[in-house]
């Protein structure tokens, strides 16, 4: 691990933080104007952009748990689907407006997350991951088994979020949702909660010793992540207009997980930024090799394997490495090894 040497000047650190903020704003500006740059002016490509922003937002919510408290929510897709079905069913059965339904979907996913988390997060990390997966599979089983309500695998037709048939307004909606997800979770991470999360994620025993009640923080984190997953699932429902139980498949969790880890665990921004080129690239491959189903998943899987073995810090880790290298070159004293 990179042990942070005490910085000789907080000014340098502030400058670096500023630089990061500027970079993020620049990325956001690019994301805003992207639909007007060819080839993204076409509807098909704009649909890819919507998909990219959607998976980016999911990856941020996923990384909030995986990267900070070190719990892999393997049932993540099911929580997304649960939010989607909640919002969709509210709209279909009771005529609730999608905007409200999406928020309720977030609440419901958060609630199920609370139940799951309260029961499993006391246990070892791997138990929690597998139990979340079981809960996800069970949720999918329930959705499949009540076709009177969910139409099962025939699919539930859901009213659209917007009147427009165009992708552009949806893109800005999901981009806004991505910014909100990122903003809120970054804010939480920067608060005293974030410190506790990191402490627990890195060393449970030490965190306990320093008076942190780990389970409480773990559950708070897990519930927040699930709630955002549900909210985003609502968008999915009202964007595509059709919901099948397959939205909850574990392979969708793996897609999100792959992007989160390739982006860099525990960075939030890494996941958000990497999602765009990666998911667009994968969509491109999918179209090019439309006769080969699943080739995009092979790519995700291979990338995940390579990252896990050779670059566990992901893209964010690489950027941090470059950052540190630049800092070292500017002031040799700062990067000096503490052993010397």
């Amino acid at each position: 691990m990179i042990a942070k040497a005490p910085s000789p000047s907080t000014r340098a650190a502030r400058l670096r933080a500023n630089r990061r903020r500027i970079a993020l704003v620049a990325v956001l500006v690019v994301a805003l104007v992207l639909p007007f740059i060819p080839p993204f002016t076409g509807e098909d490509y704009r649909r890819w952009l919507v998909g990219a922003a959607f998976i980016a937002a999911q990856a941020v919510a996923f990384d909030f748990t995986a990267g900070y408290i070190n719990i892999v929510n393997f049932g993540f897709a099911a929580f997304v689907g649960l939010g989607g079905y909640t919002s969709g069913l509210l709209a279909v059965e009771l005529g609730v407006p999608p905007v409200i339904g999406m928020v309720v979907g977030g609440f419901v996913s958060g609630l199920v997350g609370l139940l799951t988390g309260a029961l499993t997060l006391r246990l070892r990390g791997i138990y929690a991951a597998v139990m979340a997966w079981f809960v996800g599979l069970a949720l999918m089983g329930i959705v499949r088994n009540v076709p009177e309500l969910t139409r099962g695998s025939l699919g539930l037709a859901v009213p659209s979020l917007l009147d427009s048939p165009q992708n552009l307004p949806y893109y800005y909606v999901i981009l806004a949702m991505l910014v909100v997800t990122f903003g809120v979770l970054t804010w939480v991470v920067r608060s005293r909660f974030g410190l506790a999360f990191r402490a627990i994620g890195q060393n449970l025993a030490a965190a306990k010793a320093s008076g942190i009640n780990p389970t409480r923080y773990l559950v708070i984190n897990f519930v927040l992540s699930c709630a955002f997953a549900g909210w985003l699932g609502g968008f999915y429902a009202h964007y595509y207009g059709i919901l099948t139980p397959d939205v909850m498949l574990t392979s969708h969790t793996v897609e999100v997980l792959a992007i989160a880890y390739i982006g860099g665990r525990g960075s939030l921004w890494g996941a958000a930024v990497v999602a765009f080129p990666l998911s667009i690239g994968v969509e491109y491959v999918k179209v090019q090799f439309s006769t080969l189903p699943g080739v995009h998943l092979v790519l995700y899987g291979l990338l995940l394997i390579l990252v896990m073995i050779y670059r566990p810090g992901g893209v964010a880790g690489i950027v941090q490495g470059v950052d540190a290298w630049i800092a070292r070159r500017r002031s040799p004293a700062e990067g000096a090894s503490p052993a010397a």
């Binding site: 079981f134 899987g301 995940l304």
Partner: protein
């Protein structure tokens, strides 16, 4: 740094959780006896699938106990085994179809496919260890459990979709292995396939237990699971034990896939349910607890078959999960709860 002491011995395992184990077993036995009169086929199905889940779960538990790897690609070894058996058995089946008088081939015909799946499974396991886990281990053992979990998740996705690309989405199954008339057991006709699969499970588990208990290599495997440092002090090469462990575990999973080919045809996602079930068993029995996994496998198989019979096949993922959640509610450390609390990451 203390390694979780995992327990590969039946005796202390039974002793330590005596009441809970016996209570569970007694309930399971009572249900079995009751069902044996009401629905003999349910009992047969429980024993047949339970035996194969035991092969899956025992391997999964051993790999976790010895290498601290939660193998999420275990189901794909099941797929590999079933497809290998299909490939080997198909021409034999055709030969039998053309000349039904080959009685000897009827009896031994399915065996080459199972042996082949054992061998291919073992090779795949060794490759996984050498190509993936060893480089990762050499680089860093930090957050090892989570990292290998994700690594194997990646392997699973790659394996399933590569299979889909190469072989396709079709079902490759066989109507049956042994085309012989059913055997009468206590007045209940049981297909030879089921009987043979049960035999295979019993013999394999028996040999596996003997191997772990009585041989030098088996003891080395158990030693590594209990104390890696101590094992190294005794001159045990961890890398060799890891290769052996992965090889055996994956061979067992592949054998399970091959044996159940007549119930589960080979197709890309066929490994999901066995994987899910094996994980279910392992969580129930306690991670790394091999004998617990064998016992747990039959209990879970009973639970699944009861669900299928009385509620419906669609609920087989739902009700057992509710069951395990209830157990966790009352007994947070799992059914046979080994040292779960307090141990976080190795």
């Amino acid at each position: 740094m203390t390694t979780a002491t995992t327990n590969l011995r039946p005796a202390p395992f039974l002793r330590r959780y005596l009441t809970f184990t016996w209570l569970t077993l007694a309930i399971a036995a009572a249900i079995m006896v009751f069902e044996a009169f009401a629905n003999p086929s349910l009992v047969v199905n429980t024993l047949v699938t339970g035996g194969m889940w035991a092969l899956m779960a025992a391997g999964l538990a051993m790999v976790f106990g010895v290498m601290n790897i939660p193998n999420f690609a275990h189901g794909e070894l099941f797929l590999l085994g079933s497809f290998t058996a299909f490939t080997v058995f198909s021409p034999i089946q055709e030969a039998l179809f053309e000349d039904p008088s080959l009685t000897w081939l009827k009896v031994v015909g399915p065996i080459p496919g199972m042996v082949a799946s054992l061998v291919i499974g073992a090779i795949a396991g060794v490759l996984l260890e050498v190509v993936l886990f060893r480089p990762l281990r050499r680089r860093s053992r930090e957050q090892w459990v989570m990292n290998t979990f994700l690594l194997t998740a990646g392997v699973s996705v790659v394996a399933i979709n590569s299979y889909r690309l190469v072989v396709g989405n079709d079902y490759h199954g066989v109507p049956g292995y042994w085309t012989l008339p059913p055997v009468d057991v206590f007045g209940v006709p049981i297909s030879v396939d089921r009987l043979m699969v049960l035999m295979i499970a019993i013999v394999t588990i028996g040999l596996f237990a003997l191997f772990l208990q009585r041989t030098r290599l088996g003891r080395a495997i158990r030693a590594v699971s209990q104390d890696e440092t101590g094992a190294q002090m005794a001159g045990i090469d961890l890398n060799r034990v890891f290769v052996l462990t992965m090889g055996i575990s994956c061979a067992l999973a592949a054998l399970a896939g091959a044996s159940l080919l007549f119930l589960f045809p080979a197709y890309p996602d066929v490994g999901l349910q066995p994987l899910y079930t094996a994980w279910f068993v392992v969580i129930l029995a306690g991670l790394g607890n091999v004998p617990g996994a064998v016992v747990g496998a039959f209990i879970v198989a009973l639970l699944q078959n009861l669900t299928i019979f009385y509620v419906g096949v669609g609920w087989v993922d739902v009700l057992p999960t509710v069951f395990i959640m209830l157990i966790l509610l009352f007994k947070p450390s799992g059914l046979f709860g080994s040292a779960v609390k307090g141990v976080w990451e190795q």
